[in-house]
Amino acid sequence: FRIKMSTGILPSRMNLQLFKIKAVSAKKGFDLLKKKADALKKAFRGILQKIVESKACIGEDYNEAMLGLAEATFAAGDFSRAVVDHVKKKTPVRLTVHSDNIAGVHLPIFTLRHEEDNSDDNSLLGLTGGGTAINKAREKFTKFLKVLVTVASLQTQFVTLDQVIKVTNRRVNALEFVLIPKIKFTIDYIDKELDEESREDFFRLKKVVEAKKQRQAEKYANNDNKGKQDNENAEEEVMVEEQDAFDDDDEDVFI
């Protein structure tokens, strides 16, 4: 497919220089972006690998936790209502979200934070029986939660990185398929125009000189009695004039 390249640029030598510089920096930018895209892809694959590994642990830890819960329910009766009622504003288990610089991108990383809850609300749970079982269940669920937080962290990094990769790839492609060819086309165009211009100049010069030669020849043909010697002089003069014609300050030559 062809992109419509406009030729609205003035084909001057200065512009030629300008666009050559643009081509160089566009190439440099392109190389840098490509390197960044490669680094991102590597990090991306690494995260993917870690996700697959962590998710494999989930099933196991979950089963453990559920077993613990079943045991606790068996020992202490159905305490689900009591747990719900004990939920307060001051949540002991929270997440800290840090931003980590991975391959030049700021990705979030979650860490589980446990604030020491000094109130005895939770320990009232198992008073009538099965307190140990409840505590064991709590431990297993905490372990399960840790794995979950790791996976969630990786997952968020994964999705963020995915978006960044898409943007970077778009910019790489834009450079490679739109900007750089456009600049190249402009450079070729200016080059061609400059060549054409200088060829035109040379051709015009030749024409003018030939015309002059003709006029001179006619002039001396009219004064035939002056003899051949004059003709030769005239030819020398024309030759000299020809050379002079190439000087820029010859006012007879109109460009």
Binding site: M66, S80, V87, V93, R94, L95, F141, F144, A152
Partner: protein
């Protein structure tokens, strides 16, 4: 070349993006069956705010997909929730909404349930990675 003003503006944007990621007491929300929610609350993630809205929701046989969707939207639009845990079988009930979820925060994590052990084929992230692995490996 680049103007220094543009450069400074980009630096400021970058710093802001970095800061907006930082949170120190983000919550974990959970949408699950009674056992899952009980277990999670036992572990201590439960939170009830001043207006009595909570970060957990128990799904039973009478819960409609509409209600689940509403809770899901509520949890994901809160800016103090960093992770939403959801049983996979519940996620399947609102699969279109979850598949359409494109934001990076909060993270949606599908966890197994007692009756339905973890099936990687149904996991939204897993399906995307399979697709991506096919396309990204150039």
């Amino acid at each position: 070349g680049q103007s220094p003003r543009l450069f400074l503006q980009r630096e400021r944007e970058r710093a802001m993006a970095k800061r907006s990621l930082e949170q120190h007491d983000a919550l974990i929300a959970v949408i699950g069956d009674e056992d899952t929610v009980t277990g999670m609350l036992l572990a201590g993630i439960g939170n009830v705010d001043a207006r009595r809205s909570s970060n957990f929701f128990v799904v039973d046989s009478k819960t409609t997909p509409g209600q689940i969707e509403e809770v899901f939207t509520r949890f994901t639009t809160r800016n103090d929730v960093a992770v939403v845990l959801i049983n996979q079988y519940i996620a399947t009930m609102i699969r279109p909404l979850i598949d359409a979820y494109e934001s990076t925060a909060p993270a949606i994590l599908e966890i197994p349930s007692k009756e339905h052990p973890y099936d990687p084929e149904k996991d939204a992230i897993h399906r995307r990675t399979k697709l991506l692995l096919g396309i990204r490996d150039q």
